[in-house]
Amino acid sequence: MNKDTALALRTPLTDEVLAELKIGDKVKLSGVVYTARDAAHRRLAELLNKNQIAQLPFDPQGQVIYYVGPTPAKPGQIIGSAGPTTSFRMDAYTPQLLAAGLKATIGKGARSPEVLAAMKKYRAVYLVAVGGAGALLSQCIKKAEVIAYDDLGPEAIRKLEVVDLPLTVANDIQGNDLYQEGIKKYAIA
């Protein structure tokens, strides 16, 4: 990560800040992010489907969800290894979270056309971290606390406080996709 060229971002995210981001931009994210994976998303979606927004474990307005299920912390550690999981498994639930005010998701791998359209519609971005770099990424996590669904173990919702989490903008609010562009650039016919 080239620290000199990375943009420093702080959560919660605003439309003004997100409007500046373009695919391929390097970002150093600081502030609170919430973890959620498949099982937690299913529960969040159930609440949203019943219009019980007040019962969500956190208010999604301006917030960021990190798709991660960390390893358990060793004694003295804040959190175990904590890299991104594959995002497309959460695609079915993402548009309704974006509609509820979520401003960014963090994961790895390309999103569905429905999620791309929802990001454009609700002015949200998709940020990617390096998959399989969980030991390195865990060093950016300064605080971790389970705030909901403890019974889900690694899939519980955690409130993390991160400092300079190294990310790349994969989808911006204009609807551009770094995965498509990147592959197009390097594919040999």
């Binding site: 990560m1 080239n2 391929g24 099982a39 991660v68 299920g69 960390p70 390893t71 358990p72 912390a73 060793k74 550690q77 175990g80 290894s81 904590a82 890299g83 999981t85 594959t86 497309f88 790895k108 791998g109 390309a110 990617v128 390096v130 998959g131 399989g132 770099a133 969980g134 030991a135 390195l136 990424l137 865990s138 060093q139 889900l152 173990g153 690694p154 190294p166 790349t168 994969a170 770094l178 995965y179 562009e181 990147g182 592959i183 197009k184 650039k185 390097y186 594919a187 040999i188």
Partner: protein
């Protein structure tokens, strides 16, 4: 008859689970370093550097390189002249996995039922394969297999008339469709032949080979080279964000098949290519 105690097996499995997840093999590191010299995308180079740095840090701290510490896939090679004492062999393997994943602070990623999805809490049961051989050898091989790459794997029953071209096409299609999801640069395990489940097992066993070692049959060795070249033309690159290095290696295992059948299985592994072997 050589006697082997289950307690020896338990402690070996426990250690293997931890080491395979925290210490990346030298062959993998060498392949990633080589990829760094051939990758043209600046973004791709940066990702490869981050992966190498992550792996160094994980080894130093004896911490898993990745939060997905996988399904414990374990291959037992059991000489028929070995007598296991002190308990049940399969239970000993599971006990080793239980201890390794619990005491090693690895993630417990196994649900007891695919639909009801309740976590078993200790990463058991392991996925265990047993090969019975002559003599008194006892060997354990572990592949902690991550979900991201496993989910992008595929199998197809081709018609024999589709031949080598059909097999190549299916492998390329599978890798292309997988894109960024299996954490490229990937290692592609291919099983050609056998039965339906046999092809899948051949493709999984392809990951037991030392990274980049060629198939002993020159025909398949050449096919491995050709497929690697084709895959690296796809442009997927490190983490799927575009680049020259999509795969580090292609390993093919072939097997006898029915006169009607040409099964092809593609088992994708992530850049960590985690593996550990112990002979007891």
């Amino acid at each position: 008859m050589r006697e082997l105690k289950t307690e020896t097996i338990i402690s070996a499995v426990k250690k293997m689970c931890i080491e395979a997840n925290c210490v990346i093999g030298e062959g993998v590191t060498a392949a990633l370093e080589k990829a760094l010299t051939t990758e043209e995308s600046p973004q791709g180079k940066e990702i490869l550097q981050q992966i190498l740095e992550n792996n160094r840090l994980a080894k130093k701290n004896m911490q898993p390189t990745c939060q997905d510490t996988g399904t414990a896939v374990i291959f037992i090679t059991l000489g028929q002249e070995v007598h296991i004492t002190g308990g049940d062999l399969i239970e000993a393997i599971n006990e080793g996995v239980r201890q390794g994943y619990t005491e090693g602070y690895l993630r417990k990623s196994i649900v007891a039922d695919p639909i009801k999805r309740k976590n078993t809490g200790d990463n058991t049961p392991a996925t265990i394969y047993l090969d019975l051989v002559a003599g008194d050898k006892f060997q354990l091989q572990i592949l902690p297999k991550g979900g991201g790459s496993e989910n992008m794997s595929a199998l197809k029953m081709l018609k024999p008339s589709e031949g080598i071209e059909g097999a190549k096409k299916f492998v390329i299609e599978t890798v292309k469709k997988a894109g960024a999801n299996p954490c490229p640069p990937i290692v592609v395990g291919v099983g050609i032949g056998g039965t339906f489940e046999g092809a899948a097992l051949l493709s999984k066993k392809a990951h037991l080979r030392k990274l980049g070692a060629r198939n002993p049959d020159p025909f398949y060795a050449k096919l491995e080279e050709e497929l690697l070249e084709e895959i690296n033309k796809l442009g997927i690159g490190p983490q799927g964000l575009g680049g020259r290095v999509t795969a580090l290696a292609v390993h093919i295992n072939q097997g006898p098949a029915h006169i009607t059948a040409l099964p092809v299985a593609v088992n994708i592994n992530c850049h960590a290519d985690r593996y550990k072997v112990v002979v007891l």
